[in-house]
């Protein structure tokens, strides 16, 4: 009985591990694909999938023999010489003279030409067509050959995207939008969260319900009314409607419900006794907030900061609506979209710009990650 149970347990574990590995693969393979594609030449992308670029593969090609006018005479025979290989290919493996049999002959062998004469294509791609008689003027022919292609990568895409006009400025613009749009909601939400979880005042429950309700409101619904409001305010004060302040406020507004909700839940779990102890020590609510609650809330603040930064950095819609298209306002997402061109199918630009854009959020994530500390409350109260 026990033996059977144990065996089942082990198989169960294998199954769990296998499914985890499978899920990880499904998640990461597309990303790897994009990364590899970003290093490939535009033409290569059009011709073959990214998985072929990773190993040396064999492909069939067609070359044209050189113009008969280049024929020379050697040893009493007429010879046309040349090389079939282009830049990306490295070794001829097989060749043929008829379209039905492109691999009829191995590299280095001599094949008879249908009109007389012979053709030899060597491994290095050099070929000779030898004939007893002179080659006719129109006898340039197609040569079919199979060549191996080693993995070739290029940095051309990256240099194109990075040096394209305005990308550097757009980076800065994006940062100018994202950093305040992350910091301001945190400042406001932290105060709100502390009040909503630890202070008693009438209407607290209702206020919290409203905040949670706002979580549900889709951003797209409020874009146009908000822009109208900005326009009116701008008219009233004589300032332009599309400014950085406007987009900071917009992102703050959109991000606050989640921020308040997240922070309030976390701050509500802080032990009550610590705050009572601080109260006995003579701390006002504000001092408790700054000296005790805020330092202890760093994990929650860090997680929200990561979410919000990522969201704002990748955002295109709000940036287009609330910021202009001039050089000093166009964000990175907008700039990259402009690079794409009207066809929208330039995969080498798409994939490269994806990775160029990823760098900053990655830096933010890895630098904030060490603040996501478990056991921050260790040692403060019994059981913690």
């Amino acid at each position: 009985m026990a033996r059977v149970r144990r065996r089942k347990g082990r198989w169960g574990q294998y199954f769990v591990h296998a499914s985890v590995v499978l899920i990880v693969l499904i998640w990461t393979i597309p990303t790897i694909g994009i990364l590899v594609t970003s290093f490939r030449h535009k033409d290569a992308i059009a011709v073959s999938g990214w998985w072929t670029a990773l190993t040396t593969s064999q492909q069939n090609f067609i070359a044209h023999s050189a113009d008969p006018s280049t024929q020379v005479q050697e040893n009493g025979k007429y010879v046309i010489k040349g090389n079939v290989l282009t830049a990306n290919e490295s070794g001829v493996v097989a060749f043929g003279t008829k379209i039905m049999k492109p691999k009829e002959f191995k590299a280095g062998e001599t094949a008879p030409l249908p009109d007389g004469g012979s053709l030899t294509i060597n491994r290095d791609g050099s070929y000779q067509m030898v004939s007893d008689t002179s080659f006719a003027a129109d006898s340039s022919r197609r040569l079919y050959y199979t060549a191996s292609q080693p993995p070739t990568f290029t940095l051309v895409n990256y240099s194109h995207v990075l040096t394209a006009a305005g990308v550097g400025q757009s980076f800065i613009n994006s940062l100018t939008v994202a950093v305040p749009a992350t910091v301001i909601p945190i400042l406001i939400a932290a105060y709100a969260a502390y009040a909503l979880s630890w202070m008693r005042f009438p209407g607290r429950g209702l206020l919290l319900a409203v905040v949670v309700g706002l979580l549900v409101v889709p951003l797209q619904m409020s874009l146009i009314p908000l822009l109208k409001l900005y326009n009116n305010v701008g008219e009233f004060f004589g300032v332009p409607a599309k400014t950085y302040l406007g987009i900071w406020l917009a992102h703050t507004g959109f991000g606050l419900p989640l921020a308040i909700y997240l922070l309030r839940n976390y701050i509500g779990t802080l032990p009550n006794e610590i705050m009572e102890s601080a109260r006995v020590d003579g701390a006002t609510d504000f001092e408790i907030f700054v000296r005790i609650v805020l330092p202890l809330s760093v994990p929650a603040l860090a997680s929200f900061a990561i979410f919000q930064f990522l969201w704002v950095w990748n955002d295109l819609l709000v940036a287009i609506v609330f910021l202009g298209q001039q050089d000093n306002q166009l964000v990175l997402t907008g700039r990259l979209r402009a690079l794409l061109g009207s066809r929208g199918g330039d995969w080498e630009i798409l994939t490269t710009s994806a990775f160029v854009s990823i760098v900053v959020p990655l830096i933010v994530f890895f630098s904030l990650q060490r603040y996501l500390v478990r056991g921050l409350l260790a040692g403060s109260v019994k059981g913690g």
Partner: protein, 364 residues
């Protein structure tokens, strides 16, 4: 300094009245213990004195001044919580200095006060550590140290030892007793459900039950002259044996007859009106002795015998619902199923009326 007066203090949470009118006078420098079963309201009462709970009605006075509306920080109190409540992101030094830093005291003053408190509690080698690097007992000492630094007139302890293991509890109890001697002018109010802590630490004990004060008195007073059945059974471990009885004689020949057993002479002042009525007869386990003779109050068969080395507990089935427990000195070699007789000196017997109130005992 540190004189407290509670007058008709009541507390309700919504419609539930938790504290039902408490009157208490605490002298300066006294060590008062609030004791009682879980849910009796002792912590709530302490928190009202601290200012962490609203006082629904009644007054709390510190040195003659009413403090009902005064925030905790201004009452001159310091509190030690059951769960230590240390600030986890600050070192021991900063934990203790926090209050003074908030009050913007000069640095050297803070340093002197913190080091002195650390000295008293032997915390000096740990001043730079974080709470998570300390053991349970050390953390509790830091909590006490934090309170000492505040230089309060009233020290409040909310079940500080209940999270410590038995051995640590004993040593910390002694430390608290020493602390009381050292800070003789500081009033201390200590809440616990453990009557051993109450008996050993208190100058006076306040026994609470469902929000009502049952009795206030010195430990010995509560032990010898409990005012009612509740206090009699709460103090002393194992609890006093109680048996329903009928009251027979009056005064000089006061006698009660415990159910199923012979009439017993008692030395208590029983009014004539009580004769013939029902009551409760009580005798503490430690007052019972074995006897073979006619003076046995109880006779029965031993159900369980527990040998602890320094004493022996016998659980004797005398025909009542609960066994009669006898606490005998040393190792008494009596085993299960032995037939025994138990007797107690006349002076050690307690009698309670039908409402659980004690009749005054003479000579006690």
């Amino acid at each position: 300094m540190g004189e407290l007066r509670l007058r008709d203090v009541k507390k309700s949470f919504g419609h539930v009245e938790v504290i039902k009118g408490v009157d208490l006078d605490i002298k300066s420098g006294e060590f008062v213990v609030f004791v009682g079963p879980s849910g009796c309201g002792k912590s709530t009462l302490l928190r009202m004195v601290a200012g962490l709970e609203e006082i629904t009605s009644g007054t709390v006075e510190f040195d003659g001044e009413e403090v009902n509306d005064l925030p905790p920080a201004l009452r001159g109190i310091a509190m030690v919580f059951q769960s230590y409540a240390l600030y986890p992101h600050m070192t021991v030094y900063n934990n203790m200095a926090f209050g003074m830093k908030l009050a913007k005291e000069p640095k050297d003053k803070i340093d002197a006060a913190v080091r002195q408190a650390a000295e008293i509690l032997q915390l000096t080698p740990y001043l730079d550590r974080l709470p998570k690097q300390l053991s349970g007992g050390q953390r509790q000492r830091v909590a006490i140290g934090r309170a000492i630094v505040r230089n309060p007139r009233v020290f409040l302890f909310d079940e500080p030892l209940s999270n410590l293991d038995a051995a640590l509890r004993v040593s910390m109890r002694i430390e608290i007793a020493k602390l009381h001697e050292r800070l003789a002018s500081v009033t201390m109010i200590y809440v616990t459900h453990d009557q051993v802590e109450a008996m050993t630490l208190a100058d006076r004990i306040v026994v609470l039950n469902f929000g009502v004060v049952e009795q206030v008195g010195s430990p010995m007073e509560l032990y010898d002259r409990p005012r009612n059945l509740f206090v009699a059974r709460f103090i002393g471990s194992p609890a006093m044996n109680v048996v329903p009885c009928t009251i027979e004689g009056v005064d000089g020949e006061a006698r009660v007859k415990p159910e199923k057993h012979a009439s017993v002479k008692v030395e208590a002042t029983i009014p004539a009106s009580a004769v013939g009525g029902k009551g409760t007869f009580g005798v503490r386990p430690e007052d019972l002795n074995l006897t073979d003779g006619d003076d046995a109050i109880f006779r029965g068969r031993v159900d369980v015998s527990e040998h602890l080395g320094e004493l022996t507990l016998l659980y004797v089935d005398c025909g009542y619902e609960e066994p009669i427990i006898a606490k005998l000195e040393g190792n008494v070699p009596i085993k299960r199923h032995a037939e025994v007789g138990l007797t107690a000196p006349v002076a050690a017997v307690h009698v309670f009326d039908d409402k659980g109130r004690a009749f005054a005992r003479r000579g006690a």
